[in-house]
Subunit: 492 residues, 2 copies
């Protein structure tokens, strides 16, 4: 395993791509734009899944599973949604292969096995789910429906990057149905708050909560709540979205219910999702030129123990000591792995664990055995200390909490120092190019201005922050009146 | 929710289909052959997943994720595998839809967005995975690779049934790579044993372990281990398979490694899987004419509490009592739900919980409040008793274990009484038609005889049991010599 990562300063994009591959997180596959998520990367994703799943269930949601395929006629029912995804749909047209008469040992699509109606591989599941909900909902007693699905989806992206933008990705998509507009709106905001809490408290990634502008909204949504994070290169990353869908899908699929006053009405909807893109956010928030830096909550192994020995007797003694430590850590809920590989030297092991972001490394050598100590190295600060064996479980457990908090604080400081209030367009452009980050500026509220700023600077409105104060001002481009500032940035 | 299930005696197949839908487990979707797994059904599947995942990890496996799509050229590389699945492949040929110029508001496949190479939606992942492993394996130090994937797969089945045979289904597929034939064979058998333990100890489904005959083997396998269960109608169900793949895939994808003697050799492989089909096995092993019967290990709610009251004061008192019970059960790890719905009468709730197979039902009325008792009803035996509140947690916890064991014993007795040793073909046919179940008979070992028996009786060889004794005999059809008995049955 080579340690020679391109530095972030040299080429951030290259650093990212190399890190994902060298840290054994994921790699490109033989299928254009589709990735293989390797065991180490998948173990991190599993930790995200487990925590999110717990949070969804705590807020009353249940999991279910809906078909991978959407018949074209259902897909096109909600026009805006269909329009938004039509250009990136993988389409199944046939259901059989046959021997190729022109090429021995090869197969070809059987022309006689053409589907009467093409099937779209789901880019998102509103259509198939609302077509299903139609059969489940008659009265207000059937509401709310609070369902989440863990699934793969496919969006045929032309330029792909591991985790950040792939043709197939893994995600969860919540789809809820409600009797009132207010309840649906509350749900959409609740789930955006769940995402924000998850990002901040579990992933140690600070996020801005807010609403998308009309042009950045999910296709088919009335409002899109979002959480936006800031990467180390000063570009924003949309980390999760939660949509208030109004009655759009209920109307498209004719889903009506009898309310408690006996009247028929269309059902109100939300949908919300986060994906393996969060892996990209994780990497680009915390990692450094030496490799991955993992918050303890997400580390497949929170602690690794490397023995340093010259003979088998020493190894035996150190192994026994390591097992004591592992037991002690296990009892306080900390995961720890003993790296007893005989094919690698300690230095190579150190390099690998550094590259893979293990939060704490313990090294134990003969001197430590004599002194009843271990050497403890922090991945985030790259500091080392010798600590006594006494109370090692408690000490490490508390240190892991410190690291989790330190990573969040560091990222928060970076993010906060990269939100710049700007009131004129020249400064807007120069801050964007030099300082980078979020620009807090007035906007006149029109899609035209938004579009023009995008054309001129590549910056888009990432969100209208929910905690922003009303403040009269003038649009940074047109000078037209504005009621509040919004956040602009270049984005992933 | 209607309780009127067709009885098993009347029409077993109809009973099954009705039960799956009425118990809210799954339903057919708008996509031919694809099902919607509803929250109650999915909650059961999640329990299976969690236990299997734990067992896989305990045996050293890690999860990963590989692409949904397999390029046709990779798919056809292992010829037997390709041949086995070619007839049931969903094929993606295009990557974009566009507005249909002939129909306002409709979409059509964009003829200019045709893929250069078609993509097969994975019916199984050996091809894409072995093509990936090629890049991971150079030397024996890279082995073994012990990976599992939780995924959806698609096999375009013409006749589908909820859970048992669907075009898309959920499963796990393990794919391992080894340095020696022996190690791979050991792995394949180990994972079949994991499946057997899971089926018997967790799902309370007795299974026969054994090997498939050549004609029933997985396409591309050298040996297929399997577990076979017996349903209440006397038909067998293949509940899981584990394949020793030899070097077939390594050769097809040119995956060689340097062994510890410095020589190049092809890598040895296994694959193994179980799917949502297990839901079908679960239903058809334990359930009865009143609905689902769930082993406590698999019940989303192990206990449900139904209050019986005439006024709000009574309801309040009963609710407090219920909360005490829930706390007490929680402390011993038992899940319990209070059914406080005001829209349903107790009788309707009883009927629903019976239909949905909740293992234990507690009813609490005013008299129980006076006497410090509850009424406890067992779903499996349909028996009721009044029990005192004292030690209710311990009592229920122990009763759930009793139920889990009782369900297994009942199913085992049924299965064992439906394995019939038969030595002539007339008896073979009559046992198959009247008594049904497994027939233990001699077979001359040829695919021709196997095929002929299938044509004459619809029975196939389900497995060559691993615990069968060598016993010289004569083939039940041809009279040719045979060394051991095999198990025949009609099968799902």
């Amino acid at each position: 395993m080579s340690k020679n990562l391109t530095s972030r300063a040299e080429d951030y994009s290259k650093w990212y791509n190399e890190l994902v591959v060298k840290a054994d997180l994921a790699e490109n596959s033989a299928v254009r734009g589709c990735m293989v998520i390797k065991p180490y990367g998948y173990a991190i994703w599993e930790k995200m899944q487990a925590e999110l799943d717990r949070m969804f269930k705590d807020t009353g949601h249940q999991n279910a599973y809906f078909p991978l395929f959407v018949p074209k006629s259902l897909f096109e029912a909600e026009e805006k949604n269909a329009e938004g995804f039509a250009k990136e749909c993988a389409v199944v047209t046939h259901y059989r292969l046959q021997n190729d008469p022109d090429a021995e040992g090869k197969l070809r699509v059987d022309p006689e096995a053409k589907l009467e109606e093409e099937l779209v591989v789901r880019p998102t599941s509103e259509a198939i789910i609302w077509n299903t909900y139609k059969g489940w909902i008659q009265s207000y007693r059937d509401l709310p429906i609070l369902i989440n699905q863990w699934a793969n989806v496919v969006r045929w992206e032309m330029r792909t990057r591991l985790f950040l933008r792939t043709a197939e990705f893994l995600w969860q998509e919540g789809h809820t149905a409600h009797a009132t507009e207010k309840e649906a709106m509350t749900e959409a905001e609740l789930m955006n708050n769940v995402y924000a809490n998850f990002a901040q408290n579990f992933m140690a990634i600070p996020v801005v909560k807010g609403l998308k502008t009309e042009s950045e909204r999910f296709a088919g949504a009335v409002e899109t709540f979002c959480i936006e994070a800031l990467m180390q290169d000063g570009k924003a990353l949309q980390a999760g979205t939660s949509h208030f869908l109004g009655q759009n899908f209920a109307k498209a699929f004719d889903v009506k219910f009898t309310n408690n006053e006996g009247q028929l009405d269309y059902v109100w909807a939300t949908s919300w999702g986060v994906s393996t893109r969060l892996m990209g956010a994780l990497i680009m928030t915390h990692s450094d030129d030496k490799g991955l830096v993992l918050p303890p909550n997400l580390a497949p192994w929170q602690v690794v123990i490397v023995p340093i020995y010259k003979n088998d007797d020493q190894l035996d003694a150190i192994t026994n000591r390591a097992n004591e430590i592992i037991e002690s850590l296990k009892s306080v809920g900390v995961s720890c792995k003993f790296d007893g590989r005989t094919t690698l030297r300690p230095g190579a092991k150190f390099a690998q664990h550094e590259l893979q972001g293990v939060p704490l490394r313990i090294a134990i050598g003969p001197k430590d055995m004599d002194n009843n100590t271990v050497e403890l190295a922090r991945r985030d600060t790259l500091t080392k200390e010798i600590i006594p064996m006494d109370d090692i479980g408690t000490k490490i457990n508390s240190l892991l909490k410190t690291i989790q908090e330190a990573l969040f604080t560091k990222a928060l400081n970076f993010r906060d120092s990269h939100i710049t209030e700007v009131d004129d367009f020249e400064t807007f452009k120069s801050v964007l190019e030099t300082k980078t980050g979020f620009i807090s500026a007035h906007w006149d509220g029109t899609p035209e201005t938004e579009q023009k700023i995008k054309e001129l600077t590549k910056a888009t409105i990432r969100c209208i922050p929910s905690d922003v104060k009303d403040e009269a001002g003038k649009c940074v481009l047109t000078g037209n009146p504005s009621k509040r500032r919004v956040l602009f940035a270049k984005a992933y």
